[in-house]
Amino acid sequence: MTAFILKRLGLALVTLWILSLIVFFAGQILPGDAGRAILGPLAAPSAVKALDHQLGVDQSVLQQYWNWITHFPGTSQQYQAPIGPILTTALGKSLKLAVFAFIIVVPLGIFGGVFAALKHGKWQDRTITVVGQSALTVPEFVSGIVLILIFSVWLGWLPVSATAPPGSGFFTSLKYLILPVIPLVLILFGYIARMARVGTIEALGSDYARTATLKGLPRGVMIRRHVLRNSLLPTITVVATQTGYLIGGLVVVEFLFRYQGIGLLTYNAAKNRDFPMLEACVLTIGVIYMLVTLIADISFSLLNPRIRLKAAE
């Protein structure tokens, strides 16, 4: 088991290193001179040269990569301030949004998927599948804008902004997060329900489920003890891989609702071509995704004896 975890950790580190190279070189593609791009075409050559030196872009690419890695995360060009604190604050806010979304969608998605599987082929199954599949393909900003129209503009129930006024209590700030969370929930619901449905259908048709039925177990007990235990295992991995989609969705939702999380930070960095900030954001997102998948893989293998034993070989 330790060997398995170490191997996965090693692979994750290699992937992370490649990711850092990709992100760093994306920042290098920017045509022309960084100092010139910031100061504009009318700036004096000496000023451009001085800024280039200050930014470190007059050094060799290798030297620049080394500087970047050793001084990570560095200084934002746009804010003229260290990236670290800005990034941590934004990350905390996004985490709040993400956790809220997962708390709603994980039970909902699993329930929907299992329910659809138990009604396999009936109208309930088809409705859940079609609704889930459609929710999956409608972009977050589209569902977001329709929700704003209905609940803020027409009904006036919920605020358009996601940020509660300073000093408001836990439940007030939660109320401000309801609208932004729904577009995320819609997308994730599609994925999780689909996996839970497929897993449950498979488990229902398996030999052990038939054996359990034939030995006289009531259907409810059979489903709880034998079917769910097996069908929900793959769903764990799906929930983890959805973290990636969730962060992509955060960029859009935080932009739409003006919520100062890591998504909006990434968006602003890209819009203003603040590459140190952009690189830091992207690498952070990559690390989060890899950590979550790693944890999911490990818990998956801890729960699944077949993989656990295979890894021990």
């Binding site: 972009p139 900003f141 992509g248 739409l256």
Partner: protein, 295 residues
């Protein structure tokens, strides 16, 4: 010698006829699926709008009327007018054009590149597979939108950049699927036979294995197409795609959603419904094709 050649030609002819029958059977089955018919119909409507948009639209999508700004839907402007007095119905109709050019081209690019990379990974295995596999993993660790935003920030915004970036981002995703399909084929007898005949690796990959992994590639294309539409519209909404004053659904929503609180709902709602109908139509079509091909 000639007898052998004759038999070969005959066998090839029979195979060809078989394929034609199979294809006709697939199309017949698709036309009997209500999901496919509904999806294809909506898709067709939008394709017609994309091609003949300017001819169908009652007004020019660019024509401003400063006396008729923010007008609610009426018989003259069924979808109302926007902040510059432009007819929303015309903008929704013509707005289908860019998305229906960019998304399919991006998906096609990704499918062609992804198929090539997947064939190489699956056929050679070993070190090539390992190295490419790591790069694919690194790309997959980032959400598509984030990768695209970074690339567009580095390369600048244009429709061509959008196509190339989304195509390149799709490449590893499609490569992974194709690789898995190739792994199941590479040890089969016909590949060994081709190798014994002395065929080159390129010939075996593209002329022998490729036709046999074609259905997962078709499924992958249709699934990715829905995702490309999703991504292009999102990027445009964020300001990284089609630029103003072009009529585009994502762009129009981004421009007009600031005035939604003033009650001008028609300036975003019809664009939102257009997007929803298009993505759901593509999903219905792709789900039906997947269902028929994998049976």
């Amino acid at each position: 010698m000639s007898a052998i050649a004759d038999v070969e030609i005959e066998a090839a002819g029979a195979l060809h006829a078989d394929r034609q029958v199979a294809r006709r059977e697939l199309i017949r089955e698709l036309l009997h699926s209500p999901a496919f018919v509904i999806g294809a119909f909506i898709l067709l409507v939008w394709i017609i709008c994309a091609i003949f948009g300017s001819a169908i639209a009652p007004h020019s999508p660019y024509a401003q009327s400063l006396l008729g700004i923010n007008k609610a839907p009426s018989s003259a402007h069924p979808f109302g007018t926007d902040q510059l007095g432009r007819d929303m119905l015309s903008r929704v109709i013509v707005g289908s054009r860019d998305i229906l050019v960019i998304a399919p081209l991006a998906t096609l690019l990704g499918t062609v590149l992804g198929t090539a990379v997947g064939l190489v990974m699956g056929y050679y295995r070993g070190i090539v597979d390992d190295v490419l596999g790591r790069v694919v993993e690194a790309f997959l660790a980032l959400p598509l939108i984030v990768t695209a935003v970074v690339a567009i920030a580095a390369l600048g915004t244009s429709n061509a950049t959008l196509i190339i970036v989304i195509g390149l981002v799709f490449t590893p995703l499609i490569a992974r699927t194709v690789r898995a399909a190739v792994l199941q084929e590479r040890d089969l007898d016909y590949v060994a036979a081709a190798r014994l005949r002395g065929e080159g690796s390129l010939y075996i990959m593209f002329a022998e294995i490729l036709p046999n992994v074609f259905s997962p590639i078709v499924v992958e294309f249709t699934v990715r197409l829905a995702y490309a539409i999703f991504t292009v519209l999102t990027l445009t909404f964020l300001g990284f795609g089609v630029q103003p004053p072009s009529p585009d659904w994502g762009l129009d929503i981004a421009t007009n959603y600031g005035v939604v609180s003033a009650g001008y709902w028609w300036e975003v709602l019809f664009d939102a419904l257009a997007i929803a109908s298009l993505v759901v139509a593509v999903t219905l079509v792709s789900e039906s094709i997947e269902g028929v091909l994998e049976r």
